[in-house]
Each structure stands twice: as C-alpha cells, then as structure tokens.
C-alpha cells in the first residue's frame, strides 16, 4: 500500500523520523489505537483483553517453569520440587501459572457467554466467533496437557482416567488412546508428548488464532450491545418494534457508522478500562497463588490403590457426567456429548440467522445456553459434594509399633501444618505421602535432624533438639510406611 510511505518527510532527522519515513507509524497508530469504538461499549467488553493478558501471564510464568522442568518420569517430580524449593520465587511463579490457568478458564468462558448473549456471533462476525470457539477448546487442552507435567498422584491418575475415556469409543478408541499416550502405557512417552503439546503445539496454535481474532476485531470493529442495535435498526426502518428481517449490508453500514461516530476512542478511553480490569484480575491470581499456594501431591505411584483421583475443577462436570452413562455407553457421555456441543458452537452463526440480537428475542439459543450452563454448574457441584473429604482415615491400621510411635510424634510436632501426610496437611513443604519412593531412610533421618545440612534454603526447623535420634528414627520409619 502506498499509505505505508507518508506523503511528507518527517521534519526531525531522528530515529522516530527514520521509522516514520519508511513505515508511516503515525498512520498505523491512528488506525489501530485512535480508531473510534462504537457507542454503548461497556465493561463486559474488557473480557477479551483480560483473556489476552492472562495468556501473556501464562506464557511468562510457563517459560520460567520450563527453565527448571525435566519432562521425564525419572525427574519430572524432582524438578518441580526443585523449582518450588530452590528457585527464588519458584513457588509463587508455579502458583501464578496454576491459578492463572483456572482464571483463564473462567474468563474465557465468561467472554464466550457474553459474546453469545449479545448475539455478537451474527453477521458479519462469524469468523471471529469460530476463532473464539477454537481458542475456547484450546484453553481446556492447555489444562488437560498441563496438569500431567508435575507427575504427582493427581497428574498420573487424572491422566490415566482422561486417556482411558478416549479408549471407550468403539472402533477407533484404542487407536486414539495409544495416540494420546504415545504407546499402550501411560509413561515416559506420554509425558514427553503432553509436554511437547503443552509448550510447543498449543502455544503456536493459540498465538496464531489470537492474531486472527485480534485482527478481525480491529478490521471489523466490535459489535454494538444487542438492545441498542435492535432498537437502532428498527428506528432506521421507521418501525416501532424490533426488526423482523436481517439487516442488509447497507443498513448494517449505516447503523454501525452512526454508533461509531458517537463512540469513544480506543486509546486511551477504552484501553484504560481493559488495563484496570486486567490488573485487578492478575492481582487476584497472584493473591490466590500467595494465599493458597499450589498443591504438589506425592510422586506418581502406579501401585497406589488408596488414591482417589479427581480432575481439575473445570473438568469435574465431565467426570460427573460419566456416572450417568452405563459402561458400554460411556463414550456417548464423554466424547459424543462434548463433541456435539462443539459442533453446535461452530454451527451456531449458521443456524441462528434471525434478525434480532437481544437474548430475549432469541429464545432457542438463550435456552440452550442457560441449560448448558446450569448443567455444567450442577454436575460440577454434585461432583464436589461426592468427593471424599480426604484420603482414607484409618491408614494407621497396619503400622508396626515403631511406626505408631512415629505417627504420634508426627502429630505432636504438627508436621501437617506444612506437609501433606495421609492425604491432608499444608503445602509449605513437599507432601510426605509416598516419600519412601523418593528418599532413603538415611536421607529422611538426616533431613529431619538438620534440614539445612541437605538443603541450605530449607524453611524447616531443626528437630534435634527437641527430638532425640531415636524419636527421629521412629518418625522416619513411620514416614517410610506412608503410601
């Protein structure tokens, strides 16, 4: 385009002038940032920007985590433990990534619901909607591939169940399951596969789709709130009531241009709203990361029969749905229903071509949205209610006398305020369930005796004194018995 070269030379021979003479950055700035945003745009429109901001936060924290992560069953767990105990700010960065993922799901779903409610998927923004539906699906794919990576109990068992679900599909199930796992077993090949998808494939796809989504937002402009739009279209036609026929191209241009004329500037009037809301959401994520930390359960143990696997909260509805389908029809619940839901989302702009945008005038699609949201909320809630409070209580049943003494000492010393023991406890320190798989008796004993001797940055206090060597050995024997 000849517009890319300005008609006049920039008066100043500085760096800015050099770029201006070649790229016409002033025109670019005008087109991208000083453009008018239609009248009526409100705070609900910030959700897209917040999703983008969270994606950037995930990219940053994910990159840092990748610096200290080893995608191998031998080392994955230790490397995550290293990140949270040895790397400065490692704990908080992992926390931000963990809670950021949840925030991302919440914000993306809200963004989609708002878009749906406003009928913004309608002419001419169908392509934007499709890119958004794909991004919505990829957000969940990020979640699913992400939580295998720490290789703790939750990672192992939730992924075992998740990949087995694919295996229930008739005919192609086994093939898909092997494809997901990189083999017939969940193991080293699954971990590298999930890692590659999580850090290479998905980010590239998402970045590309975000690019398309953003380009379309700038190129087409955002939609006008549906009530205002329906009223304006009716006014243009001189009708009293909401429009009964879809707008023609000329009508669309006339109404949209009018809203744009009365609108606000993108910079700084609207960006300031995006910036403030994004800052608040990021602060909430950081607050969650600091206040609640991030769970790291015991290292994955394929022989553990006491573990009760539960997926992340945003997959609980799917988990619960499974219970309502008898064995042979399971795949209908876990693959067909979600699949149909995605097909519905993709076809939506083609199916709903009615003239009105306001949700009250779109009873069928509004009903589908309300039913879907209610179903997901109810299923999630039921699943939360049926989750056992913690792992089995009476694990002390088959302990030796030494181990029982150790167990009492552990209770008296309040070890659970920092460590998960028998399925419950704090997450300041690593979980001690399954510690026998990771550490030798000598190591555990020395660590309790003097944590700084083995880990110079340990926050754990020295326990000899107050305890004696014999007592520490009792504790060690008990900890080794923890599964």
């Amino acid at each position: 385009m000849s517009d890319a070269v300005p008609a006049e030379r920039h008066p100043h021979r500085n760096l800015y002038g050099w770029f201006q003479d070649r790229l016409n950055v002033e025109l670019l700035w005008q087109a991208l940032f000083i453009r008018k945003i239609p009248f009526g745009v409100n705070l609900l429109y910030t959700l897209g920007f917040v999703s983008l901001a969270l994606f950037l936060v995930q990219t940053l924290t994910g990159t840092i985590l990748a610096l200290y992560y080893s995608p191998s069953p031998d080392h994955a767990y230790d490397s995550v433990e290293y990140t949270i105990t040895q790397v400065p700010f490692g704990q908080v960065i992992r926390g931000i990534h963990h809670w950021g993922a949840s925030a991302m799901v919440v914000v993306v779903v809200l963004h989609m619901l708002v878009t749906f409610g406003m009928g913004a998927y309608k002419y001419p923004r169908e392509v934007s909607w499709w890119a958004g539906v794909a991004l919505f699906g990829l957000t969940f794919a990020f979640g699913f591939t992400g939580y295998l990576l720490p290789w703790d109990e939750k990672a192992y068992w939730a992924t075992t169940v998740g990949t087995n679900m694919a295996g229930t599909v008739p005919a192609v199930g086994n093939f898909v399951e092997s494809l997901l796992r990189g083999g017939s077993q969940l193991g080293a090949l699954t971990l590298t596969r999930f890692y590659a998808v999580h850090v290479l494939v998905l980010p590239m796809l998402v970045a590309g789709l975000i690019g398309l989504h953003l380009f379309l937002v700038v190129w087409q402009g955002v939609s006008v709130p549906p009530g205002l739009w329906d009223a304006a279209l009716a006014r243009l036609r001189g009708a009293r009531r909401a429009p009964t026929a879809p707008e023609t191209e000329l009508e669309y241009r006339a109404v949209y241009d009018d809203f744009k004329l009365r609108g606000r500037r993108f910079f700084p009037d609207l960006i300031v709203e995006d910036a403030v809301v994004s800052t608040i959401v990021i602060l909430i994520v950081i607050a969650f990361a600091v206040a609640f930390g991030t769970p790291l359960e015991g290292q994955a143990d394929p022989t553990n029969t006491g573990y009760v696997p539960r997926p992340e909260w945003y997959f609980l509805f799917l988990f619960e749905l499974l219970k309502y389908f008898p064995g042979s029809l399971e795949w209908v619940g876990v693959v067909v229903l979600p699949g149909l839901f995605f097909v519905f989302l993709f076809l939506l702009p083609l199916l709903d071509r009615g003239p009105r945008r306001s949700p009250r005038y779109r009873p069928i699609s509004t009903a589908i949205a309300v039913i879907s949201v209610t179903a997901v909320v109810v299923l999630t809630w039921r699943s939360v209610l049926t989750t056992p409070p913690a792992l089995a209580e009476n694990r002390g049943a088959r302990l030796t006398s030494t181990e029982v003494v150790g167990r009492e000492l552990v209770a008296a010393q309040g070890c659970v305020s920092c460590h998960v023991i028998e399925g419950r406890g704090g997450n300041v320190g690593p979980s001690l369930d399954g510690v026998a798989l990771r550490r030798s008796a000598a190591y555990i004993h020395s660590y309790i005796e003097n944590p700084r001797g083995l880990n110079p940055t340990a926050a754990m206090p020295t326990f000899i004194p107050p305890l004696t060597h014999e007592q520490v050995e009792d504790i060690t024997q008990y900890l080794l018995a923890l599964r």
């Binding site: 940053l60 790397v87 700084p268 960006i271 800052t279």
Partner: protein, 173 residues
Amino acid sequence: MDGPIPAAQTSRRTFLAQVIGACVTFVAALLGVPALGAAIGPALKRDESQWLPLGSPDAFHEGQPTGVNLTVVRRDGWIESTDVKGVWVVRQPGNQFTVYNGRCTHLGCAYSWQPDQQQFTCPCHAGVYGLDGHVLAGPPPRPLDALLTRVEGGQLQAQYRDFQLGTPEQAPA
C-alpha cells in the same frame, strides 16, 4: 472529523494514558521481578562446598595414616548422585590433621600406606610419598593434594575436592 479538542478533553486523555502506563508498569514489575529472579538466581548460585564427616579425631593415631571412604553427594539441579571417594587421614603432632586426596598426583591411581616402609606408594608407576605428602621417588609432579579440614562438634571434617592430575601446580579439576 472530531473538530478542535477542548483542553479539558486533552487533560482527561493524558490522565487516562497515565493510568494505563501505571497499570502496565505495576503489572510488569509485579511479574517481572519474580520472573527475573527465578531466571537468574540459580544460574548465579555457586556450588557450596560440603564439610564431610570423617569420624571422631580420636580414631586417628599419629604416625598411622588411615584410609577413609567419603560419600560425596553431588547435586546437579534436581539430580543427585553419590560418589565414594577415598582419602587418607594423617594425624600430625599437636592435634593437627592432614587429609590427602586419595589419588596419586601423577595419573590418579589409588595409592596406599606401607606401614613397614613408612611411606605412601602408588602401585601404577611406583610413585612414593612421605608422611608429609612430599614426593620421595617416582614420576609424581607434585606432593599429595591436601584437603581443607576442621574439627567441629567433636568430629573431624574435610571438604572433598579433585585437582588436575599430572601438573606441577595444584589447580582445581
């Protein structure tokens, strides 16, 4: 298009732009500081030397060097490996201890103490050292490598290190 912009409008926009700048700076600092700290911190960490226990000082007697196997834990990020390294403990007059790296300075063979000859001999190329570590005969280019020692909490401790072999000067391996 817009016509002339009133002054109030421009100062409002300047303020909003400042709010945007403040938000961006705030979030960038809030996330940037931990991110940089996490990215740079471990890279600058020096290997801290470990004091390894050799046992009670009373277990060693003057004029009788004793071979001790030290378990050295090596940490490479999250990978931990243990190596067993041999050293010789020599009790000097006046409660002083010298601990020699157990490898001959010539080519790294394990030498041993010959009580009847009162000297260390290396079986590979017949290097011979005295009780004070000095070369008495053979090809070794320098005396035995002494390690840092201390007595703490009633325990003799040493810092294990390996040195370059076959050179007259002692340099870290």
